[in-house]
């Protein structure tokens, strides 16, 4: 098999090839590493690749080759720099975690390893997952494989760019306000944000604990379903993890079409501010779902316009508490020459955190502070209830919803760096799923005239992943193969 053929495998074919002896895991991992060496200098999706370690894992997989080796035996995956993998750095793209080595595996990673997966490298992100462009990284930005003058989205931009450029067969990301779905949309790959609690958060560096979920980025919907199935389920180390079994990718999904399914189009998600080319691509995808037998109905999510305000209050409040642990005492970087603990904390954090993280910590501290708590944090939690109820009502009228992932295609590099509010407002179509705890999937559905990918977002109710994946798989099959990125300059 030549290198390109390896890089275009789906996960099940990759695993089947190793089991049958068509190729070894070493050959597969070597091909992926060669792709990284060849293409990553242009897009900088990876922040850490230990080739020797990856090949050792591959050899171990080859040694246990056979039907009992696991569903991903010998199959390489990439991991966002926010997830702990024992022995590897876990820098969260931050200066403050310089030198940190993870002492244990995140549960999601451990479950992939239990099925034989090879962790091939760590991908770039916005620092501590705060951002929507992967420009807020101590390593510098990752570039969009479709156009090097554009951002890959964020915060899981490295994972999305690695999968889109076929440097990784699949990658893990995390989604607190859209950080898996939006980069998947910007880079033309599949991204799944599972329902809150589907996948254990143990070993995921916390940003906003009531919103965070780990999710897969893949080249196709069935691979996302496979990774979800492997990573999901109750974990005693995360008391919010749900025990319900997640669906397995079903060969019947695509063939069954969408007959009998009601798909809602939330009217607020197609309103002012939506780029006409994005609107057109998503409507065409909805029509394709109708042609597969689905009934399209309009639904209302009336509190959508308050979602960004509620999200940025709640997320930053939780972040300000979660990031208090980075104080220069137990891990990571410490400022030199501090005279007392207060000096140590304030200088370590000043040196260690980037601007966006500092902004969010300050905002979060403010909305929780005495005198402001009721007006901001408490009110935002109540608005969160209204947004959750909007979804409950709407899912009474439909099985799943179809919407854009983001109001536009990928931003230009630097377009939002001086105007953080502008970047925040671009998250309007994704933060709602996190606030409500429901699941969402991004599937590529078209290209703009400039050749930038557009994603279709399929939203499902809490623990409604099977519906979302079924709609995604049926649509994807009807759509046919999506074009490959051509790279290119700005």
């Amino acid at each position: 098999m030549n290198r390109e053929a390896f890089q275009c495998l789906d996960l099940r074919s990759a695993a089947a090839g190793v089991v049958s002896g068509d190729f070894t895991s070493r050959e597969l991992v070597e091909a992926m590493l060669a792709g990284i060496i060849e293409r990553d200098p242009a897009i900088r999706a990876f922040v850490h690749v230990d080739a020797d370690d990856a090949l050792r894992q591959a050899d171990a997989a080859d040694a246990r080759r056979g039907p009992g080796g696991g569903r991903l035996n010998g199959v390489p995956v990439a991991v966002k720099d926010v997830l702990n993998v024992a022995g590897q750095p876990c820098g969260c793209a931050s200066r403050i975690l310089e030198g940190y080595r993870a002492p244990y595996d995140a549960t999601a990673v451990a479950r992939l390893r239990r099925e034989g997966a090879v962790v091939v490298g760590r991908t770039n992100m916005d620092e501590f997952a705060m951002g929507s462009t992967t420009e807020n990284s101590v390593h510098g930005p990752t570039l969009n494989p479709w156009n090097h003058g554009r951002v890959p989205g964020g915060s899981s931009g490295g994972s999305a760019a690695a999968v889109a450029s076929r440097e990784a067969l699949a990658a893990l990301g995390s989604d607190t306000g859209g950080s898996v779905r939006q980069p998947a949309s910007f880079c033309g790959c599949v991204g799944l944000k599972p329902s809150y609690g589907r996948i254990s958060r143990y070993g995921l560096t916390a940003y906003a604990s009531s919103l965070d979920q780990i999710g897969p980025l893949t080249t196709n919907v069935r691979d996302a379903a496979l990774l979800l199935n492997i990573m999901s389920g109750r974990d005693p180390l995360d008391s919010t993890s749900v025990p319900d079994p997640a669906p397995c990718a079903d060969d019947g999904w695509a063939a069954a079409g969408l007959k009998g399914m009601k798909l809602g189009l939330p009217r607020e998600y197609f309103g002012a501010g939506l780029d006409p080319e994005v609107a057109w691509a998503v409507r065409a995808a909805a029509d394709a779902c109708a042609a597969l037998g689905a009934e399209l109905v309009e639904v209302a999510l009336p509190h959508t316009e308050y979602a960004i305000a509620a999200y940025y209050i709640i997320a930053t409040a939780e972040a300000s508490a979660n990031l208090a642990r980075f104080d220069g005492v137990r891990y990571g970087r410490r400022a030199d020459g501090a005279s007392d603990p207060y000096d140590l904390y304030t200088r370590t954090r000043a040196e260690g955190f980037g601007a966006e993280v500092k902004r969010r910590i300050i905002l979060g501290t403010y909305v929780l502070s005495s005198g402001y708590y009721e007006a901001y944090y408490r009110s935002a939690q109540k608005v969160r209830t209204l947004i959750r109820r909007d979804f409950e009502r709407a899912f009474g009228q439909c099985d799943a919803m179809l919407a854009p992932v983001a109001p536009t295609a990928a931003y230009r590099l630097g377009e939002t760096t001086d105007d953080p509010l502008k970047m925040y407002l671009g998250d309007i179509l994704t933060v709602t799923a996190n606030l409500a705890g429901i699941c969402g999937l991004s599937v590529p559905c078209g290209l703009t005239d400039d050749g930038l990918p557009v994603g279709l977002q399929v939203l499902g109710p809490f623990l409604g992943e099977e519906r979302v994946l079924r709609v995604g798989a049926a649509y994807e099959t009807a759509r046919g193969p999506f074009p490959e990125p051509h790279g290119g300059a700005a």
């Binding site: 080595r101 809150y196 502070s369």
Partner: protein
């Protein structure tokens, strides 16, 4: 609207001290401008009448999750200290706290 909500701009320097963040004068100025803009925007939730609405703290459906009260193996002492910027005698080293 409460009194706090109407009381005007955030004092970035003060909040940064609460958050244990030292800011340069340039940072303080930039953040003040950007955060005034952001706080001005998020204040829009005050437009909604949320009296009588229960707050949502979590999307989790589970509550009172218990596990058996059994001693289990955690991270080894030396592993826990392995990432410390400074340690000695099996402990984290910090600047003097008590004179």
């Amino acid at each position: 609207m409460t009194e706090a909500n109407e009381s005007g701009a955030m004092d970035v320097a003060y909040v940064a001290r609460l958050a244990r963040l030292a800011l340069t004068p340039e940072e303080a100025e930039t953040f003040q401008r950007q955060l005034d803009h952001i706080v001005g925007y998020v204040r829009k939730i005050g437009e909604l009448d949320v009296s009588g609405v229960e707050p949502t703290a979590h999307a989790a459906v589970l509550s009172n999750v218990f596990r058996p009260d059994e001693a289990r193996h955690g991270i080894e002492h030396d592993v826990a200290l392995g990432n410390a910027p400074r340690s000695a005698d099996g402990q984290f080293l910090v600047p003097r706290i008590v004179e």
